[in-house]
């Protein structure tokens, strides 16, 4: 778990400010940004994978049943998946504000 930048001391920085842990940005919860979230209607899904391939945030994962499920941790709610789904299986709904 990489700690946020405001907690680093100068001695802890690697030489040249190199980032040694590949892909550690994946700890950042971009999912907090969204105001709409995608909902999948499994009955309409044809497992084509377009939602997965067109997601700029890699917020789709293939589940054991062969469905692509959105990863709400990262999903920014852009709506591309809903727009591009050839069968209209995905709809964008308003994300409830967490209390």
């Amino acid at each position: 778990m990489t700690k946020p930048e405001s907690e680093w001391t100068w001695k802890e920085l690697p030489v040249g400010n190199v980032v040694l842990e590949p892909g550690n940005a994946s700890q950042y919860r971009t999912g907090d940004w969204k105001s709409l979230k995608p909902i999948l209607n499994k009955e309409l899904c044809v497992h084509c994978g377009l939602c997965y391939i067109f997601c700029p945030d890699m917020a789709y994962n293939l589940d054991a049943g062969g469905y692509f499920i959105s990863d709400l941790y990262y999903c920014k709610g852009c709506g591309i998946c809903a727009k591009e789904c050839p069968t209209g299986a995905i709809t964008m709904v308003v994300e409830e504000e967490e209390a």
Binding site: T2, K3, E5, W8, L13, N17, V19, E21, P22, G23, N24, A25, S26, Q27, Y28, R29, T30, W33, K34, C48, G49, L50, Y52, I53, F54, C55, P56, D57, M58, A59, L62, D71, Y73, Y74, K76, G77, C78, G79, I80, A82, K83, E84, P86, M92
Partner: protein, 310 residues
């Protein structure tokens, strides 16, 4: 909808993500998608030299990185020069026996500003020297990272913060610089245009570019909802429309031979593309007609080149 025919081919792409989620691009950023697809195309064995720009900023806020491959950002205008250095180092270190031989793709990545404007010199130099590297230009048609200022890649008539739609001048007053043509004039083995709305095609072109010996260049149209003032869910549709209206034709130039990737017997009306973007909101019908005329002219010229096998 030619792309829909191979809709299931998506599943043939690798599932691995070399560009990690958690990056800070805007919602619906097609440039991030382009970068994601490029990373998928190239896999593990790549070293990326990136220029300053949207993709650099969203992917590397110290101490975090979205990159699961070696990635190096130096400055704005020298992605091609840094890539030249990386490629030469790999060559000489293997030759001197200091590192074992491994097939590693050297990739330079920059935006339209870092390619067509400030980066043009370094790119031209690297192409002329014939380094074995691939150059990807992700073109969102303005200096988006600094707040949507015009670049030489901004299309005619588009409103940006430094080419605003005012009372005297209405948006960009010059025509978009034809970067693929400039690069092709260097007589390098491979030049291509691609768009993330056609993901399989993009991946195939990037793979081909990396495979070929010598310099290769892929120019990728990157729809930017923030800068183009379009709805974030339209980024894929807009990319498709750009291709279908002839605004951004998909083609390759391999050893000087032009080949259209998709040829449309009849181009879609430009209005369908323009009306979805706020940056063209101020254009009058007659202006749109003028633009469309020129786009069609250029498309015909491109088709001629492809037919001739020039």
């Amino acid at each position: 909808m030619t792309e829909k025919l191979n809709v299931f081919a998506v599943r043939t792409l690798t599932q691995k993500e070399y560009f990690a989620p958690g990056h800070r691009s805007c919602q619906g950023c097609a440039e991030a998608l382009a970068v994601r697809l490029v990373a998928k195309a190239l896999g593990r064995n790549v070293i990326i030299a990136a220029a300053t720009g949207c993709m650099e900023i969203v992917s590397s806020p110290l101490p975090f990185t979205s990159w699961r491959v070696p990635w190096f950002h130096v400055a704005f205008e020298n992605a091609a020069a840094v890539a030249s250095g990386i490629e030469s180092a790999l060559k000489v270190l293997v030759r001197k026996g200091r590192i074992p031989y491994k097939k590693i793709v050297t990739l330079a990545m920059a935006g339209d500003g870092g390619t067509a404007d400030i980066g043009l010199q370094a790119l031209s130099g690297a192409l002329e020297r014939g380094h074995n590297f691939t150059y990807i230009c992700t073109d969102n048609e303005a200096y988006m990272n600094t707040g949507i200022q015009r670049s030489s890649s901004t299309p005619f008539g588009a409103a940006t913060t430094t080419s605003p739609a005012g009372k005297v001048t209405m948006g960009q007053i010059t025509w978009k610089k034809n970067m693929p043509a400039i690069v092709a004039a260097h007589h390098i083995p491979y030049v291509a245009t691609a768009c993330p709305s056609y993901p399989i095609d993009l991946v195939q072109k990037v793979k081909k570019a990396a495979e070929l010996k010598g310099p290769a260049y892929v120019h990728i149209l990157s729809v930017c909802p923030t800068g183009w003032r379009s709805a974030p869910d339209l980024s894929i549709k807009l990319g498709r429309l750009a291709v279908e209206t002839g605004v951004f034709p998909l083609y390759e130039v391999e050893q000087g031979k032009y080949r259209l990737t998709i040829d449309f017997p009849k181009l879609r009306p430009l209005k369908e593309y323009i009306k979805l973007q706020g940056r063209f909101r101020h254009l009058t019908d007659s202006m749109i007609e003028e633009i469309e005329k020129r786009i069609h002219q250029e498309y015909e010229q491109l088709k001629k080149k492809a037919k001739k096998g020039v």
